[in-house]
């Protein structure tokens, strides 16, 4: 640790976030590696260290003997201030070396509100923020993560985007980069070769032109480059890397526990859900292997908590067997096992009861919409009867509070649907009184609503987001019709949802806006203590761009979308069909019942998904 750093650490909050040195942090001998990677997470240490994907790729990269991958997180405001005042550039946690001297800077981007932090971190590293200002003497800047399914808004700042699951493509990319370094290729040459690696998108090799109305006329790739770039997936999760030996932070983080991924993908096909489409097809892991890995991870870390992380855990066929296997190990050792994202329809009470023995606090369901019609429209296949059964078993099993999550502003939503949320909440309350242990008063229902954000690569990618005033009108309508004492209503502030809607479906012209907002101090936009909508609105004005064009405009059927430089493997025709079905409130069966021909089977051996 340098003396400069030693001087500032006593002046900042939670300095353990900035020191590295945790158990299982990978420290290599600099002289034994030929390629150094700064793996950046554009949010705080506590958030970044809670990310399983980051831990996986850290392990994958450090598994290469010639490569040393270090972690970098966004310093909180007090630390940034001290670093800038003392001219300490952003450094890798493992070595303490400035990352501006590394070969590669890689960002994991899962949330649009982190964009400003990417710029800020590059700047703190002393690396020119815009790719046009960088050359071969600077680190290559790459980004991956779910946001990269629309890479365009970040294309002024990032040299290469990695699409889909990173386990394999990261290794291929590193081999190319190492060769380029050894053979002294120019940056241009390197980018051209990387553009040929499946799953990598190089924005500098694509030219975009626009129509007079602001929509895209054409996206033209340079010679030898093909569009769209198809995402990569790991075909066999049983043989792919899982970090049973992983860093145990010395200070508290958000998800401080063993995270076990039971499968990737989701069979459900909720029409609003980007993850549901983007991670197709579903691929499950073998339960015996999961039990082995879960036990190994607990032993190695000393964690006393384990969670199964997947999109819809209850769709995992051998869930009972898996839980039995894990509980055999966990229960006698007081290790708690939690199962988020259980569905209301095949909710297994026996399972929940065994898992949460003694801890009956809250139960969470996400019906997403208040009426059956709207739930059918979004293909969220949960019925009121399902919910009733689940609540009944939950309440009679001793649970006394239920959290319900909804979205407001879903396509085709009417006031009747909004009021349906109030109805449903009241019914849950009544079921609680009927089946609950404490006949009167004991039951609590918490209703939360978020403003719907139409996402690229979903059935609703054409849709307009309702404007903020309309969202607030619906919030008020709901609030006024849901005044019961035992119902708490929380609504998500629409400002960030609006910006999310802008950036998730934005084009590359938005780079200027991000730049402008960052220049004016934007950072940590996911945090209310830093977020300022006005700063962003000013940036749009300064750039002569209208945010409503991106958030609140319904797209034409034939419009070319900026995110179509990428492909999730799910076809546009399928998404368009799903949108039509939504308008008719017709549900699409899940992948297990029947294949609907989305196109993701191209990733499966023999062209058939094993849902």
């Amino acid at each position: 640790m340098t003396k400069e750093l030693e001087k500032i650490l006593p002046l900042v909050q939670k300095p353990a976030r900035y020191t590295g040195g945790e158990y299982r942090a990978v420290v290599k001998d600099k002289s034994q590696v030929d390629f150094r990677v700064a793996f950046c997470f554009p949010d705080s240490y506590e958030i970044g260290m809670s990310n399983l994907g980051m831990r996986i790729l850290y392990g994958v990269m450090n598994g290469l003997p010639e490569v040393w991958c270090e972690r970098v997180f966004a310093p909180w405001g007090d630390m940034e201030e001290q670093m800038r005042a003392h001219h300490i550039p952003l450094y890798g946690l493992e070595s303490g070396d400035p990352i501006g001297t590394f070969d590669l800077i890689a960002f994991s981007v899962g949330y649009e509100m982190a964009y400003s932090n990417i710029l800020n971190m590059l700047d703190l590293a002393g690396v020119p923020v815009r790719r046009a200002d960088r050359n071969g003497s600077h680190p290559l800047v790459i980004a991956g993560g779910t946001c990269c399914y629309n890479p365009e808004p970040l294309s002024d700042f990032v040299d290469v985007f990695s699409l889909g699951e990173g386990e394999d493509v990261t290794v291929e990319m590193l081999q190319v980069c190492r060769r380029a370094k050894a053979e002294g290729w120019s940056r241009e040459e390197l980018l051209r070769v990387l553009a040929k690696v499946p799953g990598l998108y190089v924005p500098s090799l694509v030219d975009v032109t626009y129509n007079a109305d602001g929509t895209i006329r054409a996206m033209t790739p340079a010679d030898g480059v093909t569009l769209p770039v198809l995402k990569r997936i790991v075909s066999d999760l049983n043989t792919s890397y899982y970090p049973t030996q992983t860093i145990v932070p010395s200070t508290e983080i958000v998800h401080d526990r063993v995270m076990l991924e039971v499968f990737r993908g989701c069979i459900r096909g909720c029409r609003f859900c980007q993850a549901g489409y983007a991670y197709r097809p579903v691929r499950a892991k073998d339960p015996e292997l999961l039990v082995q890995q879960g036990i190994a991870a607990c032993k190695d870390s000393g964690y006393q908590e384990m969670t199964l992380s997947s999109l819809s855990t209850s769709d995992y066929r051998p869930l009972e067997a898996l839980c039995d296997g894990l509980l055999d190990y966990c229960a006698p050792r007081d290790i708690s096992l939690s199962l988020p994202s259980l569905r209301a329809d095949n909710f297994s009470m026996g399972l929940m009861q065994r898992l949460q023995a003694g801890r009956k606090s809250g139960l969470t369901f996400a019906p997403e919409a208040g009426t059956q019609r709207l739930r059918d429209a979004i293909n969220k296949n949960v019925t009121e009867e399902d919910l009733k059964q689940s609540c009944r078993t939950a309440f009679s099993g001793g649970w006394s509070s239920v959290k319900l999550y909804f979205m407001l502003g879903l396509p085709t939503e009417t006031d009747e649907d909004v009021l349906g949320i109030a109805d449903l909440a009241k019914k849950v309350l009544a079921w609680g009184r009927e089946y609950g242990p404490h006949q009167r008063g004991g039951v609590r229902v918490t209703v939360s609503t978020a403003c719907f954000v139409p996402k690229p690569h979903t059935a609703f990618q054409w849709e307009a987001q309702v404007d903020m005033d309309e969202y607030m009108r619906r919030v008020t309508l709901l609030r006024e019709n849901m005044r019961e004492r035992n119902i708490t209503y929380n609504w998500h502030d629409p400002d960030t949802s609006f910006l999310e809607a802008v950036f998730s479906r934005g084009d590359r012209r938005l780079g200027a806006v991000i730049w402008e907002a960052w220049k004016n101090g934007a950072k940590f936009d996911a945090w209310s203590e830093y977020f300022d909508l006005q700063r962003w609105l000013d940036a749009f004005a300064a750039c002569g761009l209208d945010p409503h064009f991106y958030a609140n405009r319904e797209r034409g059927r034939e419009e070319i979308f900026p995110w179509e430089v990428t492909s999730t493997g799910v076809s546009r025709a399928f998404l368009a069909r799903e949108r039509e079905q939504a308008y008719r409130a017709v549900i699409t069966p899940d992948c297990r019942k029947q294949c609907s021909g989305c196109g993701a089977n191209q990733f499966c051996p023999g062209g058939v998904c094993d849902a």
Binding site: E6, K14, G21, E22, Y23, A25, G302, Q304
Partner: protein
């Protein structure tokens, strides 16, 4: 009442692990090392671990004491190596032994206080030495507990011994034995009082290290 103790050092990057986080780190380290330890009784039993005299964030130490109860099956002599294999960088167990003396006999702590000051170092030593050598020197120290928001501390009464060594043109090391408890004196409080009283000698940076813990007679405490 558990009677096992660890003597451990906390250095380098580990200096920034807080007291609470360090307890959690040890809990997990015992599990990683597969060393079963005693738990508290009651409704939510948790491993019994207590670290004496919390070390301020940023300080290093060669003499921290952790109390716990070893369950049958692990010989004490194996504990240091097994824990050291699974502890984060900078936390190092030096010894595991049976604790016999009550913790209240731990009376004082020897500190090494490295003062960076590129100025009149002899002047600083003289001015600071004069203050520490007084019969009584009462300073006000902010306190969350006191109603008035501060308490008075008579510093020389809590400084058992002090000396200046390694004087160079860039600073000096102050060795000081300070009262450990009831009441204890944090060396950073002392240095702040000295700095405030001698504004002509502002240190650029001060590093603190616990060297040894002693009893009322000045003998090493274990």
């Amino acid at each position: 009442m558990p009677k096992d103790r660890l003597l451990f050092a906390k250095e380098g990057r580990a200096c920034y692990i807080s007291h609470l986080d360090l307890m959690r780190t040890f809990q997990r380290a015992f599990l990683r090392a597969d060393i079963p330890i005693k738990h508290t009784e009651g409704f939510h039993p948790h491993p019994f671990i207590s670290i004496a005299l919390p070390l301020s964030l940023g300080f290093s130490s060669a003499c921290e004491i952790l109390e716990f109860g070893l369950l049958a099956g692990t010989p004490r002599r194996e504990v240091p190596a097994r824990l050291n294999a699974v502890l984060p960088e900078g936390v190092r167990v030096l010894e595991c032994y049976e604790g016999t003396r009550p913790m209240r006999e731990l009376q004082a702590i020897r500190f090494q206080i490295q003062v960076d000051f590129a100025g009149d170092v002899p002047g600083l030593c003289q001015a600071w030495g004069e203050l520490l050598g007084r019969e009584s020197w009462i300073v006000e120290k902010p306190s969350k507990k006191a109603k008035s928001g501060s308490v008075n501390v008579d510093i020389p009464t809590l400084v058992k011994e002090y000396s200046f060594t390694d004087l160079t043109e860039n600073g000096v090391t102050l060795l000081a034995t300070l009262s450990a408890q009831n009441p204890g004196l944090n060396p950073s409080v002392m240095v702040k009082a000295l700095t405030d009283a001698c504004p002509q000698f502002p240190p650029e940076f001060v590093r603190y290290r616990r060297l040894e813990i002693v009893d009322g007679d000045g003998n090493i405490f274990r």
